[in-house]
Symmetry: C2
């Protein structure tokens, strides 16, 4: 099952967990210094090494822009792969829980996603994938510094763990600023998932580890797990307080968002995110009882601009907003 | 059936038609010059004369303020009766289509309301009521000037005819300004029903005749009928044009209004009027098909501040908005 149509542990707050491992093949310079021939060699080697995993190989050069944007909206490729497609590819599992990015900053980036707070399962999936590749590939590894990576912040474990969280109460109350500062001190980062500013679209945030050198992989993942667990607890408490303090006002906002989503004939992606975020909060507070949270998670992904554009025969702004509203209503 | 839960001819645009006859009893000064004893005599005479009509007698002095406000929201008493209740009363029929205001500016004001554009039926009902009263009462009448009334603009026929119209397209397109000017030249007036400014709350307007001296009753009513018929036709044309030109945007607005009304947990009276007005337009355009227009007409009345206050155990602002939303949702 695709990671975004399922719900996992602490799924009320944590949408998904992701583990990313950066690897580079011995005997080749980093991706940005590779010649065209070397690049193609690296792609070929990786493709071959991944055969036991039975992944689908997608060359970015031959994948249309809309499809690439859709992969990005599902968090399966990096933003860089949207514009620079040369000698880049991705290996995808059917359930889209595993994606291997090739020809990025590092030769290989293994990404494993699991719904909810489930870093350990994402980690073991990434670890197994890494083991399969390592059977035939020889990775650059230094006994003192660990895995060599292009960007020094990844050197060491070559691991980046992250969780996507839905934090409406922490955002609305302004506590997000305190959280941003605190998390930074712990060597982790928080950033909006769908937006650039501090106020993330749809109140979605990504918390990830930053320190990779000098701590072992398991420890790094455990620290992030504990932090996310704490943030989720805080979000729950703040949701309860918010509900108590707002009286009928919060319920009113949530029901209106539901009413608009269910009836609108045109929806921009920005408004859809906002309304879906309100609904998600409503489900968590038990205000909306007949809407499964997995459906909202799915809608957040499939109402993305490229997912909608893919369904439009005539790809105009108006038509996209209309199609988006139709899809939401049908669901 | 109460006039506001039914629909009549041209009911898509015309909510109701009203005929008002002003009468004064011979041998008494106008109401504002009556002594207390005279006032009570007039009330008693009228009450007695109305007995064959089997109307309910409500003394304004003993009727609570909320109930008086409710009568006003149903257009059954005048705004003046809200604050000045001394020696004032109203005689009401069960179906609330006939109300006789006593002790107003004139001794007697007979008001008859019918749903839709139906001035002739309202007129014959008022005429019959007038006849019954005249059997025992002697009205001031001058062969040259007609019925004597307190306010000179009513002298003559003592008749005032008016229609309540829902004109969303004429309002949104700004054509209302032209209409206001034109109607004035024809000796009629247009004013907002639920608001003071030019932009009437809920896009509801009242068009009424102004000239009473020198034209006979039937002619006066006929002229108003023709004007209202024309305005209704104009509104329909503009609704169609608006729908065509706006593409999906108008349908989107209407469906959102429907979604909010159906789901909100708090509604101010102002917002309720606006949303109900949008819905009414949606029904007329065939966009909303499962909502009877009579229900919207009824909601416009029963979501008025006093109707809601009457249903609240705790009469706070918040509680009223909550009760209003509950009533709308249930309906």
């Amino acid at each position: 099952m695709k990671w975004y149509v399922a719900s996992g542990p602490d799924g009320d707050v944590v949408i998904s967990s992701r583990i990313r491992l950066a690897r580079n093949i011995k005997g080749y310079p980093f991706a940005n210094a590779l010649s065209d021939i070397q690049s193609k060699e690296v792609l070929e080697k990786c493709k071959k090494a991944s055969q036991p995993l039975k992944l689908k190989y997608l060359s970015m050069e031959t994948t249309p822009a809309t499809k690439r944007q859709m992969l990005l909206e599902c968090h399966l490729i990096s933003p860089e792969m949207l514009n620079d497609t040369k000698n880049k590819a991705v290996l995808l599992s059917d359930d889209e829980q595993t994606s291997i990015l090739l020809g990025e900053e590092d030769h290989i980036r293994i990404q494993c996603m699991k719904p909810g707070l489930n870093l350990s399962e994402a980690f073991s999936l990434a670890d197994k994938t890494d083991d399969v590749l390592e059977e035939t590939l020889d990775f650059s590894f230094n006994p003192r510094f660990g895995y060599a990576t292009c960007c020094p912040t990844n050197t060491g474990t070559g691991l980046r763990a992250s969780c996507m969280l839905h934090l409406p109460a922490i955002t609305y109350t302004g506590y997000i600023d305190t959280l941003l500062a605190t998390v930074g001190k712990l060597g982790m980062t928080v950033r909006g998932v769908y937006g650039e500013g501090t106020k993330a679209k749809g109140n979605m945030y990504q918390i990830s580890n930053q320190i990779t050198l000098g701590i072992d992989e398991q420890d790094s993942v455990k620290r992030l797990h504990e932090l996310v667990k704490m943030v989720a607890e805080k979000e729950r408490n703040m949701q309860e307080t918010m509900e108590k303090e707002s009286g009928n006002k919060l319920a009113d906002t949530i029901w209106r968002s539901y009413g608009i989503l269910k009836n609108a004939r045109m929806l921009t992606s920005e408004e859809a995110y906002k309304l879906l975020s309100d609904m998600r909060l409503g489900v968590n507070l038990g205000i909306l009882t007949n809407v499964p949270i997995e459906l909202i998670n799915e809608l957040i992904i499939i109402t993305g601009p490229a997912h909608i554009a893919d369904k439009c025969t005539e790809n105009t702004h108006q038509n996209r907003d209309k199609t988006r509203a139709n899809i939401v209503r049908r669901k």
